[in-house]
């Protein structure tokens, strides 16, 4: 489980996730998260309009799409950080409509943020301990009586130190989280999410702003989540990474799921090309266009 060594073997892909033909909104053998006609508008702009999507259990699913496709908004809707105009969605068979964010987290669906939210003026260890669920010392009255929560606190402490060790942050445990580098904060946020033993981990751009050396270690950590039986859904722009670790890919454009499938076939889907270049790719799209061309070049490179 050493994390800064480049893996010699290719990660084992989970296959056979879907029922019938792979296509937008196709059924999965064992879905953990199901969304039905979830719609969110901001004034006249429809940010998310997902008809039907299922996220397979025990696999790593990537959510990709050009900037402004509604990926982060969709994340926020699924985790209770934003409320859709309509629609229903369920996690593990339980409806998540009108469930507040903190209760979604308690159900075992833990998310991270695109802009890392390390709690700066708490120590790294305190950041970790905050992630543990069901702490009796978090009740105001019980907090006054340390003998009630001391034992649980020690267990949480041990678990936090163990996880920090795995993420190579154990030497930093008494430092303020604010003193960590950007990449270390990403690691801390992921480690903190694991403190609650989630069943589904949703990572919003885990690789954004992380240097290549740390990227490899982050990739391994994500693969480890799967081998420990967790389901992962992540948003990412880095196509190499998506191709490398994802078992299933959802493609979003203009708020809709336009394609899905395993990473190799989905990237040949004309809908994906359309999504990145735009159906009207003869029109001038300005600066963002070149970025999308880059992405497509990456795709073509990878294919060869």
């Amino acid at each position: 489980m050493s994390s800064n060594v480049t893996p010699t073997s290719k990660p084992v892909k989970t296959t056979g996730l879907h029922v019938g033909d792979a296509g937008p909104g196709c059924r999965k053998v064992d879905p953990i998260l199901i969304a039905d006609s979830v719609k969110r508008t901001f004034g006249g702009l429809t940010a998310v309009d997902v008809e039907h999507v299922e996220v397979p259990r025990g696999a790593i699913t990537a959510l990709i799409g050009p900037n402004g496709a509604g990926k982060t908004t969709f994340f926020n809707l699924l985790t209770g950080f934003d409320k859709p105009d309509e629609g229903k969605w369920e996690f593990d068979g339980r409806s998540l409509a009108h469930v507040p964010a903190y209760r979604v987290a308690r159900m075992g669906l833990i998310r991270t943020f695109q802009l890392t939210k390390a709690l700066g003026l708490l120590t790294v260890l305190d950041n970790m301990k905050l992630g543990a669920k069901g702490q009796s010392g978090e009740n105001l009255f019980r907090s006054l009586l340390p003998f009630i929560w001391r034992k649980q606190e020690d267990e949480i402490d041990a678990k936090a130190v163990e996880l920090l060790g795995r993420f190579k942050l154990d030497t930093k445990k008494d430092d303020y989280a604010a003193s960590l580098s950007g990449g270390q904060r990403k690691l801390l946020e992921m480690a903190r999410a694991l403190m609650s033993d989630p069943t589904l981990v949703m990572l919003d751009e885990p690789m954004a702003g992380v240097n290549p050396a740390l990227t490899q270690s982050l990739l391994d950590h994500i693969l480890n989540l799967k081998s420990q039986g967790m389901t992962v859904l992540f948003v990412e722009h880095d196509m190499h990474m998506v191709r490398h670790i994802a078992d299933w890919v959802l493609v979003m454009a203009e708020g809709k799921i336009v394609a899905e499938g395993d990473p190799h076939t989905v990237m040949e889907d004309p809908a994906v090309i359309d999504a990145y270049l735009g159906a009207h790719h003869d029109a001038d799209l300005g600066a963002t266009d070149t970025e999308h061309v880059e992405v497509l070049k990456e795709l073509i490179d990878d294919e060869q």
């Binding site: 903190y102 833990i110 305190d126 301990k129 010392g137 978090e138």
Partner: protein, 327 residues
């Protein structure tokens, strides 16, 4: 000639005065709000006023015993916190600041208006509520102490009760802030969405913090009125800013900061106002009248707050290391 001995002994008395204890406790409540949870409560004067009026009205108008009057005041402050918190704690922090500053003013104006004169005594306020508290005094009548610290039995009783309460609440604050509860509270100060994503009911924690710190303010209000009468003019917005000055002087997220900060604040205020008043009397400041001299201390408080925030934002007891990471 200036009577330096009187100036210094007046200043020294402030160290253990009940007013200092009341400000220390109010600042400790604000430390929970602002220093630990990050709630911008600008209405601490309102919580203090509820303590003062809740206690005095219960005793004068309803003839309640001391313990019941205390419960009424604390109950009123819990309700006040709920009314403030329910609509605003879901919003961004600055909304709470606007609502609390307005609500505290509304309370003060309600206490000042003639409409409720029978209960509140309007602008002239209330007095004669101290008998029940004085009757609990176990100290036999007489004069005790030494030097500037010579008081009668009742004055000692106020000081003992006031500072005992300060110590009790400081210990409670210390206990809860080192517990998992305190960890969640401090996490909310740093980033409430992150804490929410970890499965904590942030709204409930912010409400608990608002109520708890408000109750500290209310108990401070009851200590505050023991050496004086209840006068609505005492509960202006400037009271809140004095409490903030104490908190920032001592260190916002500390336990000792508000307590020691209150002592330093009042000793300095007493020293400066004593000095300026006598200096005017002695003709050292010919451009200034006695009345102007009385106002000068408020200017000094304002200047002091600015200097602290600019040059010593962590306060006396604050952790300098934290400053390296201030955004």
């Amino acid at each position: 000639m200036i009577d330096w001995l009187a100036i210094f002994s007046n200043a020294a008395q402030e160290v253990i005065s009940p007013t200092t204890a009341a400000y220390a406790l109010a600042a400790l409540g604000l430390a929970i709000h602002f220093g630990y949870t990050g709630l911008l409560n600008f209405g601490q004067a309102g919580f203090i006023a509820l303590g003062a009026y809740g206690y005095a009205i219960s005793i004068l108008s309803f003839g309640f015993p001391v313990w019941a009057a205390v419960l009424v005041a604390v109950g009123a402050s819990v309700i006040f916190a709920l009314i403030l918190g329910i609509p605003t704690l879901r919003l961004r922090a600055d909304y709470l600041a606007i609502v609390t500053i307005a609500a505290a003013e509304i309370l003060r104006l309600i206490f000042t208006t003639n409409t409720f004169d029978a209960l509140t005594g309007s602008a002239s306020g209330l007095q004669g509520y101290k008998d029940g508290f004085a009757a609990l005094n176990p100290i036999p009548p007489g004069s005790y102490g030494f030097g500037p610290f010579t008081y009668n039995a009742f004055d000692w009783w106020i000081r003992i009760v006031g500072w005992t309460l300060v110590v009790i609440f400081a210990v409670i604050t210390w206990l809860i802030m080192r517990s998992p509860w305190g960890r969640v509270i401090k996490g909310i100060r740093e980033d409430e969405d992150a804490v929410r994503a970890l499965g904590k009911n942030v709204y409930s924690y912010k409400m608990q913090s608002l109520i708890l710190g408000g109750v500290y303010g209310t108990i401070a209000g009851m200590i505050f009125i023991m050496p004086r009468a209840v006068v609505p003019a005492n509960y202006q917005t400037s009271l809140t800013f004095f409490v903030y000055a104490i908190l920032l002087l001592g260190g916002a997220a500390t336990i000792l900061g508000p307590v020691i900060g209150s002592m330093i604040f009042w000793v300095l205020i007493s020293f400066f106002s004593g000095f300026v008043a006598r200096a005017v009397e002695a003709g050292w400041l010919p451009f200034m009248s006695q009345v102007q001299a009385g106002q000068l201390r408020f200017i000094l408080v304002g200047v002091a707050i600015m200097l602290i925030v600019v040059f010593m934002p962590q306060g006396i007891f604050g952790n300098k290391k934290e400053l390296a990471f201030v955004k």
